[in-house]
């Protein structure tokens, strides 16, 4: 198996020398050096559960392995008998017959190996599946916890590390099993040839094994340090590759070069440390595998006096050199190299973070029980998760526009009207300004329904010592209202939308949507209540239809047509090849991705739409038409983080964030009241 071992070479070791060869070769490589250290109980416990669930595969594996032990037994026993009863006794025929028995045992062993591999696949493939699932879940959990820092290293976990684990695990199972069963076969064989052989052979064998075992823990530590160093280097090189233009532009080659050289040298140092342990391990292997031969040789006069035959000695040598030595080789290589790598890699897969299941938490958070008392009682019992949570919204969309508001209004009396603090006057909802007639009449001004969204005394900072991004902010957005959020970059506009969407929890104060907490105490967001479109529009490899229906997978063809028509997506979709055409993010421009995402938002059933610069890659015309189309969507409350002042002109009201204070008023009023706003508006108009 030369070039053949592209992928699978680490799990050799079936107790034959042809197989052990490459293993030895690899064992010498430093990267492939390490042991099972003091492993975490978590890994062990999970491993036991994993194996217990696959009892039947294990039984099959044991059965085939037993066949392998029989093969080992016959290999030495047949040779001994061939010599004693055949060739040395002058009965050539008998000798050949016994050798034929040994050869037949070998064929049996071959059969056993094939069976072992079949059973092995039944163990290793589910193992790998589990790792891949964890890699994906872990990456997604981390990414949604902190989208700004979505980290691509998970891809290496999915491809590279899961393969290391798979190969290592297979290698361990193969070799450990092979060693045990070969050992049993050989010891039984030795005992049946001459029981006196055991006390001669066993002590040096056990001595070598003990030496080997004592190296495991320090080698595991060395291996771990080495892998960490390798990963650090890999991360750094990846970062340099990604930002190489900037490195050159800054003239930072010297700084980066020195840094990379340091990392390379550190890794080389650890590799040398590993090499020293590889030397020790080879000594241990030599002791365990070769000293029994020496012992046998030295004990021969004693054994002969005890009546041992020449055949028994040849048989014993066959067991030692042809069965045990290769099995030992394989075992030590596997445990030395694969074992520790497996542990190190498995630690990165340890937890399988539970991902929020899209159905269940919605039900929980869309109708939170701890919400305003009246609201909860007035709402229909959510009942079983998915079904119930989807239903009211579907009704809301299909029926008269302001239905969500009306539904909520029944519970309204219980919700106290927020008191507007002096600094942030909650202005009465103005009629639709002439410039921007909101086609769907938002809930009538006199509608006393709970606000579509409300912030009360919300404070948020990105760290205990940091200056708050939002400080005691109060805001009420009425059902059907169109609110634009403006302010200088980095003033907290995105933070505000994340708070409204329930993605962030305020440090102080409360955020409610339709009277219910935007983020329930367990950290779940009311998915059915709001749709947040971030600046980075997400398009995945799939059909245009799948992409459009992303937020409402069961949307009807008619809904889809309406959304497509409303956002004038027809030309784009035609160009992409129709609704059934496959698109991928790399084939669309940023603007096209945003347009698909806007279509998606239109199709979603959430009454509150939060656009966080979601139109920044569109031209102003397209942006305006898109915003109006979304505002015209039945029952929609629209909050737009404005990319251009024109967005603010169209809105019913404008929330101006300026870092220290927040002002909320219609455009004209803000122009009159805020110098900053005049500044913003003036500049934007010319820009």
């Amino acid at each position: 198996m030369t070039a053949a071992e592209t992928e699978t070479d680490t799990h050799t070791g079936t107790g034959t020398e042809t197989v052990a060869g490459p293993v030895e070769a690899r064992a010498a490589a430093p990267a492939a050096t390490e042991p099972a250290g003091p492993e975490a109980p978590g890994v062990a416990a999970q491993g036991r559960r994993f194996l217990w669930r696959r009892r039947r595969v294990l039984v099959a594996l044991g059965g085939w392995s037993l066949l392998e032990a029989a093969h080992t037994f016959l290999s030495g026993y047949g040779v001994a008998k061939a010599l004693d009863d055949g060739f040395l006794a002058g009965r050539t025929g008998t000798g050949l017959l016994w050798l034929a028995v040994a050869a037949a045992g070998t064929l049996l062993g071959g059969l056993a190996v094939r069976g072992v591999f079949t059973a092995l696949a039944g163990l290793v493939e589910p193992f790998r599946d589990g790792l891949v699932r964890r890699a994906v879940s872990g990456a997604l959990a981390a990414a949604i916890a902190d989208p700004a820092r979505a980290d691509n290293s998970a891809v290496s976990r999915l491809t590279h590390q899961s393969e290391i684990a798979r190969d290592s695990f297979a290698g361990l199972v193969l070799t450990a099993r092979s060693f045990v069963f070969t050992g049993v076969g050989a010891l039984v064989g030795l005992a049946s040839l001459d029981p006196a052989l055991l006390p001669v052979v066993l002590p040096p064998l056990l001595l070598g094994l003990a030496l080997f075992l004592s190296t495991l823990a320090p080698m595991a530590a060395a291996q771990r340090a080495f892998l960490d160093a390798d990963e650090a280097l890999s991360d750094r090189v990846g970062a340099v590759g990604a930002g190489f233009r900037d490195v050159v532009a800054c003239g930072g080659q010297g700084v980066i070069g020195a840094e990379l050289d340091r990392l390379i040298a550190a890794e080389a140092r650890l590799a040398r440390r590993l090499a020293r342990w590889a030397g020790v391990r080879t000594l241990a292997l030599g002791a365990a595998g070769r000293l029994p031969v020496v012992a046998l040789l030295l004990a021969i006069p004693w054994l002969l006096r005890g009546g041992a035959t020449a055949g028994a000695l040849l048989g014993a040598l066959t067991y030692l050199l042809q069965a045990l030595l290769p099995a030992l080789h394989a075992l030590m290589t596997a445990f030395g190299a694969a074992g520790s790598r497996l542990l190190v890699v498995l630690e990165r897969f340890r937890a399988d973070p539970a991902l929020p299941d899209s159905a269940a938490p919605e039900a929980a958070s869309a109708f939170p029980d701890p919400g305003p008392p009246g609201a909860a009682s007035a709402l229909p019992d959510p009942g079983p998760p998915g079904a119930a949570s989807a239903a009211p919204d579907r009704v809301a969309l299909g029926a008269a526009p302001p239905l969500p508001a009306r539904v909520l209004s029944e519970s309204a009396p219980a919700v106290p009207e927020p008191t507007a603090p002096e600094a942030v006057p909650v202005c009465p909802r103005p009629g639709p300004p002439g410039a921007a007639p909101a086609p769907t009449g938002p809930a009538a001004p006199e509608d006393p329904g709970p606000p579509a969204a409300e912030l009360r005394g919300v404070t948020f900072a990105y760290g205990p010592g940091a200056r708050p991004v939002l400080d005691r902010l109060d805001l009420t957005v009425r059902p059907g209202e169109w609110l634009a959020v403006v302010g200088p970059s980095g003033i907290g506009k995105s933070t505000l939308t994340a708070l409204l969407a329930g993605l962030l929890a305020p440090d102080r104060g409360t955020v409610t949507l339709g009277g219910a907490l935007a983020r329930d105490p367990s950290g779940r967001a009311p998915l059915q209540r709001r749709t947040l479109l971030p600046q980075q529009a997400y398009v995945f490899s799939g059909t245009v239809r799948e992409n459009l229906r992303y937020l409402s997978p069961d949307a009807s063809a008619a809904d889809l047509r309406r959304a497509v028509a409303a956002l004038e997506l027809d030309p784009l979709i035609d160009r992409l090849g129709g609704l059934e055409a496959t698109v991928g993010p790399e084939r669309l421009s940023a603007g096209e991705r945003q347009r698909l995402a806007l279509g998606r938002a239109h199709l979603s059933r959430a009454p509150l739409l939060l656009l966080d610069e979601a139109t920044c890659h569109l031209d102003p015309d397209t942006e305006e038409r898109a915003e109006r189309a979304l505002a015209a969507r039945p029952g929609t409350t629209l909050v737009v983080v404005a990319h251009r002042i024109s967005s603010a002109l169209r809105a019913d009201r404008v929330l101006l964030l300026d870092g220290d204070r927040a002002l909320c008023a219609p455009h004209d009023e803000l122009l009159a009241r805020s110098a900053l706003y005049r500044d913003l508006a003036g500049l934007w108009e010319t820009g």
Binding site: T8, L83, A525
Partner: protein
């Protein structure tokens, strides 16, 4: 357009670590191969002494292994015959075995240290050449791919010198084994040799079928990796939409996904198991055959028991060609890996000279006949420009007009294919690189930040400005405010700072301001700033940052209007140059701003030219 079968869908070039390349077999290009071999040869020479030591120790160990069966057999014969001379042979045999064990340990140690040394050398070389290359050339490697080439590939390539040395020695036991068989008894040798062709056949059969299933397996893997990368890129949406569970399902099930992966995986194990079973059967059967022939010869009185023992050991040694093929395989894989690593040091360097700029020059920039070609097409064609020192010059034009290329050429991030770029009369190609980067700064629309902390990221560069300079650059770039809101201010680790695109952009500007020289190239570097911030930054740029020439690539009317001079690019050519108010008379020029075009630039490209699919 029909949807292509999923497996045929090219996976988005992952911005992260590249999945292992399926079937990344021997390169077809002989030039690549010889470059890789030359590199490996130099790496081997770098650790020549160690390589020689490995060779000597391996050979000595092999010789001991070859001598051992003969001595063991002889000792056995003498012991069975109760000959008192046996003691000496037993001692000799013990000495041989101990020598083997010790030599093997030394070889393991030396192999490890040599591999470490070779790998570090290969990496060092690749890093040096990479850092001397132009960003445009380096961009052909996706970041993850580059990381793989410098880590996993370099590690594998680094094993070649030691594997080659050990491989030479590994030839000895099989060859010596056959020779010894011949010496002991020609019939045993004949029996053994008859079985060898079968062995080779089996090994070849395995090589074929295995690589096929492996590459299919890897294709499924990279399809899954591609979907994961997509989803990670859409993390904001997935977080907001609460669709993580659905994304997980989509990534895992594909198709192709886990079911296909498991099917291919099982196929791999079966193929592999068959091969192991075959080769595992073969060796003991060969030994049995040798024993049978030897047994017959023993019965005939032509052989002693000891010689029979020796013959069986020699047969086993001779059958152990697996060791050779294993090392050979390591060399083959190492060479393939070396080819991938070698492509990094093979990057053409961005040429520089030793010239210095005239001190105190105003930063006058002149482009003469500058042409940049891509795939045979001029993407910048014969650009002639003279920009007076100290002027603020806006570069406008539709997407794809070559604005960013012009900016890159002006700051020598890119060497033009033809033509010259002069700064204060000195050709940039002749300029000392340190002087160049000191005097020419860049800021980008999507800057990549280097440095452990936010402050270090601003300070990053050829020179290291002090904390005060970093802060004032931060203030000038409108970054100071949000940096103060970070948990640790300027000391916040970049990795812990939740930065928006606009905030990154301002840190990129701050970095350029902190190092400002006589020419500052801002390539769309304020695109994510709101107009108030932008105006403040512009004011700071004129009042607080070191004065000099500014080259601004922009889409915004206000910036063009505020510039001293506007360069209007159209499909790689200068369509017009002049003050904004003069150009404004041209309806074509007005059309550039009338309906600001949607941003049609493809997703974030770290470098001026999108990375090619890697090979």
């Amino acid at each position: 357009m029909t949807s292509p079968p999923p497996t045929a869908t090219p996976v988005a070039r992952p911005p992260g670590p590249a999945p292992e390349k399926p079937g990344d077999g021997p390169g077809k290009d002989p030039e690549d191969r010889s470059a890789a071999d030359r590199l490996l040869w130099r790496a081997a020479r770098h650790s020549g002494g160690r390589g020689a030591a490995i060779l000597v120790c391996s050979v000595a160990s092999a010789l001991a292994a070859l001598a051992e069966p003969a001595v063991l057999g002889r000792a056995l014969d003498l012991l069975l015959g109760h000959d008192p001379a046996a003691g000496r042979l037993v001692l000799l045999c013990t000495a041989l075995i101990v020598a083997e064990v010790v030599l093997d340990a030394v070889v393991a140690l030396l192999t490890g240290t040599t591999n470490a040394r070779s790998t570090a050398w290969l990496r060092g070389r690749a890093v040096t050449r990479l850092l001397a290359a132009s960003p445009e050339h380096a961009a052909r490697f996706a970041p993850g791919d580059l990381a793989t080439r410098l880590t996993a590939n370099a590690t594998e390539a680094g094993t070649v010198p030691a594997s080659a040395a050990a491989g030479l020695a590994a030839l000895l036991p099989p060859l010596g084994g056959v020779a010894a068989l011949l010496l002991i008894d020609a019939w045993t040798a004949a029996a053994f040799l008859a079985g060898v062709p079968l062995l080779l056949l089996l090994l070849r059969a395995f090589a074929r079928s295995s690589t096929e299933s492996v590459s299919r397996y890897q294709r499924v893997q990279s399809a899954m990796a591609g979907r994961l990368l997509e989803t990670l890129a859409g993390a904001h949406t997935v977080a907001a939409a609460g669709t993580a569970a659905r994304e997980r399902h989509r990534i895992l099930t594909g198709p192709p996904g886990l079911p296909e992966l498991a099917a291919e995986g099982r196929a791999m194990w079966l193929v592999y198991g068959r091969a192991v079973a075959h080769s595992g059967v073969l060796m003991p059967v060969l030994v049995c055959v040798v024993l049978a022939v030897g047994g017959i010869r023993l019965a005939q009185g032509a052989l002693g028991v000891g010689e029979l023992v020796a013959a069986s050991r020699y047969a086993a040694l001779a059958a152990g060609v697996g060791a050779v093929s294993g090392l050979l395989g390591a060399v083959v894989r190492g060479r393939a890996a070396a080819r991938r690593t070698a492509e990094v040091p093979a990057l053409p360097p961005l040429p520089h000279g030793r010239a210095l700029l005239p001190p105190g020059g105003p930063g006058a920039l002149e482009l003469r006949g500058v042409t940049v070609e891509r795939a045979g097409t001029a993407v910048l064609a014969d650009v002639d420009l003279t920009l007076p020192g100290g002027a603020t010059v806006a570069v406008v034009g539709r997407s794809g007009a070559g604005k960013s290329l012009l900016a890159a050429v002006a700051g020598r991030l890119l060497a033009p294919d033809r033509g010259r770029v002069l700064l204060d009369g000195v050709d940039l190609a002749a300029l000392d690189p340190a002087e160049l980067r000191r005097e020419v700064g860049h800021a980008f629309a999507r800057p990549a930040l280097f440095g452990a902390t936010v402050g270090a990221a601003v300070a990053f560069g050829a020179a290291s400005p002090d904390d005060g300079a970093v802060r004032s650059a931060g203030r000038a770039a409108g970054a100071d405010g949000f940096v103060q809101r970070l948990p640790g201010g300027y000391r916040t680790p970049v990795a812990d700072a939740p930065l928006s695109g606009g905030e990154r952009q301002r840190l990129g500007l701050a970095r350029a301001f902190a190092h400002a020289g006589r020419l500052l190239v801002l390539d769309d570097a304020m695109s994510s700033l709101d107009t108030v911030t932008q105006r403040e930054v512009e004011r700071a740029l004129t009042q607080q940052v070191r004065p000099g020439t500014r080259l601004l690539v922009t889409h915004r009317l206000s910036r063009a209007a505020g510039a001293d001079l506007v360069v209007w690019l159209d499909r790689g050519r200068v369509r017009a140059t002049g003050p904004h108010h003069e150009l404004w008379r041209d309806p074509g020029y007005r059309a550039l701003f009338a309906v600001p075009e949607p941003d049609t630039e493809p997703a974030p490209a770290a470098a001026p030219v999108p990375p090619e699919a890697d090979r």
